[in-house]
Amino acid sequence: MRMTRRSILAATAALPGLWLARPALAQSEVVKIGMITTLSGPGAALGADIRDGFNLAVKHGGGKLGGVAVEVVVADDGLRPENGRAIAERMVRRERVQVLTGIVFSNVLLAVAPVVLPVATYVSANAGPSQLAGEGCHPNYFNVAWQNDNLHEAVGQYLTQRNVRRAFILAPNYPAGRDALTGFKRFYKGEVVAETYTRLDQLDYAAELATIRNASPEAVYIFLPGGLGINFIKQYAAAGLRGRLPLYGPGFSFDQDVLAAVGEDALGCFNSSQWALDLPNSANLTFVETFEREYGRLPSLYASQGFDAANLIGSALAATRGDVSDRAAFAAALKRADFASVRGAFRFGNNNHPIQTIYMREVVRDAKGRIVNRTIGVAFQDHQDAYAAQCRLG
């Protein structure tokens, strides 16, 4: 049994390997960047945005990042940790890829990290599990997006600033859902009226909505990824709660991918993000304009993170002149974060996670009639995650 499974695994791993072997032989000075991301199933839109944002930066450089020719090798993990791990093993062992990025989901990243980090550098463009931010931080691991708790903490902080005294909070009953509400409560000083956990496969929230109405809180905070959030927001509006009771969430619950499906039912909802379409720095203006021209849709925060990951890697490639084999030198170059982030000011903390401003956004209809997020305030200035103190990196 084990023999057959191994050989099947080896065969499936080898097939794409053959496919990719040809260009590698021809151009040895090209730096390969392995992108493991989610391109099928319910999380497919997130991975596609990270990939497209990354590729846009490569395209800006004419096939180069930081003046060094790169080849982006994309693979779909299908939101399965075991797939991600198999792909990572193939990339670092067979194809000798030394820089990797792209993973969307924390459970995939946690399966991949032990394979990649001893022999290669990983730049996370999305997932930021606490395990890699605290004691388990690693000199070869960088996160250019956020630590998982950050956006939830931001809404907690914002509601505290706004003196909101009673909040109703809700998330699915799984590890990331419980972490989200823990992050929220870390900075929320008012009363949590109820902390509700729903089933991860639940699509009808009628019972919870009636309970929310009855509890009459001053604000509702949800973390419901993907289709769950889309349903909740639509039902929130259908129940007549939108406009009466402000609904808050992390940026993931109200970003462009969700807004496209929910439409005007999301108008007037608030969310937190380290990036927004309307941030007025020049890097962002160029990014938003070229992304829309290239792909015919507005970028999401995932796309901005993919774009930043590419430019961060580009800055380190420029500093090391494309030499990625000296892991320590490459890491030191990454840590300087010498690139123009589309979110504005950006630097790394001791644990290679961002110290950054987190904004509050409101869903509005813009001048062109599109439903987008508008920046309305700042929740945190120079915010660092809660786990940095446990990390022993300098």
Binding site: S40, G41, P42, A44, A45, N173, V192, A194, E195, T196, Y197, T198, R199, D201, L203, D204, A206, A207, E208, A210, T211, R213, N214, G227, I230, N231, K234, Q235, A238, A239, G240, A261, V262
Partner: protein, 339 residues
């Protein structure tokens, strides 16, 4: 006993009394004017889920009762109805056309399934039927993935039903959900008439209880089975079409609800449409009420952090606990059809 605990207990009792429409002094509603409206709203929520489950379970239980076939692919009929209605609604802009498409596709798919596959399985063991209809699930899911892609479709309710209705002063309830309840009750009424008052219904009832005798009397049993299967498919398609605007239309949506539909069939008694109706409402109410009430009750018994967690875990198994209790008291379900 520590006073804190005793106070907690009394508090819980007090809340229970309110839920039984009694305030502590015996006068209804006086102390907590909000609670009855919440109870009304949650009851309606329970009914919404209940009638949808009934539409699925009625077909399942008929097919099992009359034909003695376990049809796991019943969820695929529901999915087919949902996708057909979403596609036709998007194309024509008419929700009614979409609803009709859902029913027609559900019935047609069921008929095709019966003629091509199920017909060959009547004499086979249940395990063979499970195996064959499970294969149908896999094929249906892949086909839908090829036709519509892996991303879920989010349909909207018709404009005329997209608002809320004020049931009582201050109690808003989505109009579309009321329409679902009405449609479900109409379907139940139709089934009651069909089974209780028509010749076809007589044959169905006879087929459930005295199969050999019906065959011996020269009834075209093949045609009867095909019709029953098509009725089941039409009901599943209707459920799918109605569910489309409040749930997500996606691959695998059938399996998720099928498990609950089987629970309904088991609680109601195999083959009994009346039992399925009662059990569906019971399951719908149990699921909704446990989600609404348990967090609240647990908060009186446990510290808040633990209470929310325990309530979440407990409410997700509440329906199965109900099934266990019913089966312990009535091992053949509420209204067993086979006597």
């Amino acid at each position: 006993m520590p006073t804190g605990l005793r106070r907690n207990r009394q508090h819980t009792l007090h809340r229970f009394r309110i839920w039984l429409f009694l305030s502590p002094n015996g006068a209804p509603f006086r102390s907590c004017p909000m609670y009855p409206t919440l109870l009304l709203e949650q009851t309606l929520n329970g009914f919404t889920l209940g009638v949808m489950l009934f539409l699925l379970a009625a077909g399942l239980t008929l097919i099992f009762g009359v034909m003695d076939v376990i049809n796991l692919a019943h969820g695929s009929l529901y999915m087919a109805g949902a996708f057909a209605s979403a596609a036709i609604t998007a194309r024509t802009g008419s929700f009614a056309a979409g609803l009709l498409a859902g029913v027609v596709v559900g019935a047609a798919f069921a008929l095709l399934l019966e003629l091509a596959l199920i017909r060959r399985l009547y004499t086979r063991a249940h395990l063979d039927q499970v195996l064959a209809t499970f294969a149908v699930i896999l094929i249906a899911n892949e086909t839908v993935k090829i036709l519509f892609g892996p991303q879920p479709i989010f349909a909207a309710p018709p404009r005329s039903l997209s608002g809320s209705v004020e049931l009582l002063p201050g109690v808003l309830y989505p109009a579309y959900r009321l329409a679902i309840i009405a449609a479900g009750l109409l379907a139940a009424l139709f089934l009651w008439w069909l089974i209780g008052r028509t010749r076809l219904g007589m044959l169905i009832r006879a087929g459930t209880t005295h199969r050999q005798m019906v065959q011996a009397l020269g009834v075209n049993i093949k045609a009867l089975f095909a019709i029953v299967f098509a009725i089941g498919g039409a009901l599943a398609g209707l459920a799918g079409a109605m569910a489309a605007p409040i749930l997500a239309v996606q691959v695998g949506m059938g399996e998720q609800i099928l498990i609950l539909a089987f629970v309904v069939v088991v609680i109601g008694g195999l083959g009994s449409v009346r039992g399925a109706f009662l059990a569906a409402l019971l399951v719908g109410l149990t699921d909704t009420m446990s989600r609404a009430l348990l967090p609240w009750l647990m908060r009186d018994l446990l510290p808040p952090a633990a209470a929310d967690q325990v309530a979440a875990n407990l409410s997700s198994v509440a329906v199965y606990l109900l099934m266990a209790v019913v089966l312990a008291l009535r091992p053949r379900g509420l209204f067993p059809a086979h006597g």
